[in-house]
Symmetry: C2
Subunit: 597 residues, 2 copies
Amino acid sequence: MSGPLSGSVVSREVIDRPVLVTYRAVCAQNQRSPYHRVGNVAREDAVLSTMQDVPLLISRILTHGSAIHGTSQVTTWTGEDEPHRRSFAEIGARAAQLAHALREDLGVCDDDRVATLMWNNAEHVEAYFAIPSMGAVLHTLNLRLPPEQLAWIVNHAADRVIIANGSLLPLLAPLLPHLKTVEHLVVSGPGDRSLLADATARVHEYDDLIAGKPTSYDWPELDERQAASMCYTSGTTGDPKGVVYSHRSIYLHSMQVNMAQSMGLTDEDTSLVVVPQFHVNAWGLPHATFMTGVNLLMPDRFLQPAPLAAMIESEKPTHAAAVPTIWQGLLGELTAHPRDVSSLTQVTIGGSACPPSLMEAFDKLGMRVCHAWGMTETSPLGTVARPPAGVAGTEEEFAYRLTQGRFPAGVEARLTGPGGERLPWDGESAGELEVRGPWIAGAYYNGPGADPLRPADKFSEDGWLKTGDVGTISADGYLTLTDRAKDVIKSGGEWISSVELENALMSHPEVAEAAVVAVPDEKWGERPLATVVLKEGATATFETLRAFLADESGIAKWQLPERWTVIEAVPKTSVGKFDKKVLRRQYAEGELDITRL
Amino acid sequence: MSGPLSGSVVSREVIDRPVLVTYRAVCAQNQRSPYHRVGNVAREDAVLSTMQDVPLLISRILTHGSAIHGTSQVTTWTGEDEPHRRSFAEIGARAAQLAHALREDLGVCDDDRVATLMWNNAEHVEAYFAIPSMGAVLHTLNLRLPPEQLAWIVNHAADRVIIANGSLLPLLAPLLPHLKTVEHLVVSGPGDRSLLADATARVHEYDDLIAGKPTSYDWPELDERQAASMCYTSGTTGDPKGVVYSHRSIYLHSMQVNMAQSMGLTDEDTSLVVVPQFHVNAWGLPHATFMTGVNLLMPDRFLQPAPLAAMIESEKPTHAAAVPTIWQGLLGELTAHPRDVSSLTQVTIGGSACPPSLMEAFDKLGMRVCHAWGMTETSPLGTVARPPAGVAGTEEEFAYRLTQGRFPAGVEARLTGPGGERLPWDGESAGELEVRGPWIAGAYYNGPGADPLRPADKFSEDGWLKTGDVGTISADGYLTLTDRAKDVIKSGGEWISSVELENALMSHPEVAEAAVVAVPDEKWGERPLATVVLKEGATATFETLRAFLADESGIAKWQLPERWTVIEAVPKTSVGKFDKKVLRRQYAEGELDITRL
């Protein structure tokens, strides 16, 4: 008897756990047949599962994909005539080599963090598999973050190694003096190495480092709940928060992605992964595709509309995944410079809702857009907007596609109202979405040795994630999000949607822009403040706008704002979103000229 | 802080386990940076996964299916004009009622075994979910077994309750005097209750028992490794062996069934489940369909070709699952009485290999046959014969479809040769298939309080299941089975396929039947004995048959039998298979007239 399985196949530990004892205690209050004993001890005659206790590990996905689907390919765009191609078998061999190099040459051990500052490419896929499979923790760095946040995150995670693309050295080099734990830099792909001349960390060439290493690795039999990878949220308030995925959560999430009602791809497919690998595990696609042999098409740094259109035409992906802004850009490009993109029939859109007009435009191109909702804390697959059976070809179908989608079996959902009450799934009651499941975060990483963070505004007492998203759930489980929780106005125990008021105001012909924010109110707790940007020559008064809301837009009387102001422009964040923090501050500090109706 | 999740979300137990310590011990031999400690203690600065620790439970599949897919249906054939229809929402409500009744009226508690002696129907689906979800163990009884085996199995499992269909009381009633642990009988559906007049167990009507009970149940938060259901193999030698599935194994298996490369069904589909629910969880379909809303069409006791054809025509299933003999019968029926069966495009065949002629006949009907391989010990999904990308429309495609199929990511496979050596995946080296995975058995149930059985001929020392099947695996992971391990002849460290020799012999125009068995040989260990049934008027001699094997069938010289005998008929089992045990015994006892060439 040897090997990690032998001890646990028929282990009795299962029946000793507190959860079961609790259940037994309930049982014990009722009648029992005489030949059963119950209580706080393991029963000697308990029926034990006879199943093997095989942990769900990322190394198993890798060895499966590189053996059974060894001929499937990771194609990386290079901007040259011919993209770079590497088979899953080669990826498997090189991941083993990378693990050997990290272990033997760089001393990576235990749960050391190995960070990546990389585009989507074959080497990043190798890092995705090698680092968790050897027992270390992959930490994907978001190259869109401000440099000071990036440095803070590297120090907080205590990364020992950073693997970086050469093209990102101009971003990395200025950070180096601020990084406290990084001992090694590994550079892959073209880029000016002289930028690292002053680095105190040792600098390695990726390909040199792995050259000559064995092409297989005796992957350790880890606990499936061990940390596998981590990703920090770019929180708009406070420090970034680290979400730490386990082997178990990633494995289960990969299975879900592959289910027919999620993305449901097979080895006949090629997936263009535009969503960055530093963004929530690229929505799980690198792991999921190695389970089923789906080919990967990786754009590297070529994320502009023209090269994306070119790679679709030449590499003929059947599926693609990206945020709406990418699709908007691609649509413009295809309109200006038509290309044959007929291979691409399935498009997964997440990150934010897809405008209906964009969805219709892609329908006309033969690309079927499918909404998915998720966040860093949900791995990210939370919902997928595949319409239910029986609505194909009807108007209802489009309405279903505009929702955020339906929950898979692994994600439990509930809506919580402003007073903490549970709301029904009736398609009308709006509440904050809370979710539970094996690939949903229950805490945030809090640095070496510290207890994890469980802030009360993010996690309920019974362990559910508070998503911060507000919306409704229909009787058949389709989620429609309307607001961020911080943007709804809590007025006398009821919620008023600021988004709904804004859209109604902006539909008035004389209103250029409008933002609605919650302001404190002695009687109601909070009330809406309407801030309006009028078009030139507008004659509308606050009274006529208020009447317009009530009469033309069907806003309930109790939801109508009584505080109004005209502003020159709505303040915006660096990415162009309404910056309501500024308006709230201006109101609090008396900088706005308020009219009360 | 309360609820079963609170304690384990960020538990540190992960890093205390022996597996990790072993890995650390390896790490410790190499260089480490000074700010890490390694050794046999949990490191204080370990990175813990921040994922919720939500167990994979059958109750979660039920609540998901009955809420999100509440309008999907379980349709049960009744033999009347109109089948019986019940929505997933109703199934969910009735499963809760059944659990209340079992708990409160029948005292079912802990891991009590509740057996079912039922056809495929809505009530059996309710039992599938209610019994494991409440923490008890579902024990499906195989109504095709000889009565004495059935009684042995009920006693061995110590079933407290049996839920039986009324139509099966003629089978159940004679067993009752032999059942030692059964306290309650619950009867569902039409049938003569007077057969139970002498029963000492209490008799209940299913519908009366659940009537008026609450339609929801506070399902306990069980350990996912707890026993959920059990199924005995009808072993050809020795006592039947019990396989005990866990919540975890069933949940993971259900996800796999739903992956696009397995059955990949969605709520647009209806699955005709001909494979009995007492046969390895009906190949996982009841669980898998509640995850995704696939409608279930259940034939109850109407398994004859005519009603099957009628239900396909009227209910229009898109998918069906059954063993080849069912399909053979259906094909005959459809040839004699053509019907519109065009809805049925996907057919999963398991249990034994589908003859190529049958596959081609179904292709012509527009039904795409897909092989799957598995056994009671594998839950059962072991392989699925979907051809790889790129072969559609070629001759290769049909060859791939005739294999047993490809392993999914959750099933690891290896081939072991006659000397215990590992064989390559080259499509030529034949060995015994061994498998490992989270839904593969690692032991057999051994009765209350006893340690599980791990016979050395069924489980390897490192915990893999020895399937007893012999075959090859291609480089791209397709399994082709050729023999049962007990039917191969181990000659001088090499294997000879008895099936190959038999097929070659039976292709001779004067041979009616032939069976080849291993017999002891002093020099080679084992050698083949050819037993031949000649057609009337045959003139072939053993010499001409032996030459035929070598010259016409390409059998290697060292594989040619030297022991020959003519028999009147090959002995057969009750289900018509060659009974080689009899031949081996006859040879051992000198009853056969052997010629040595």
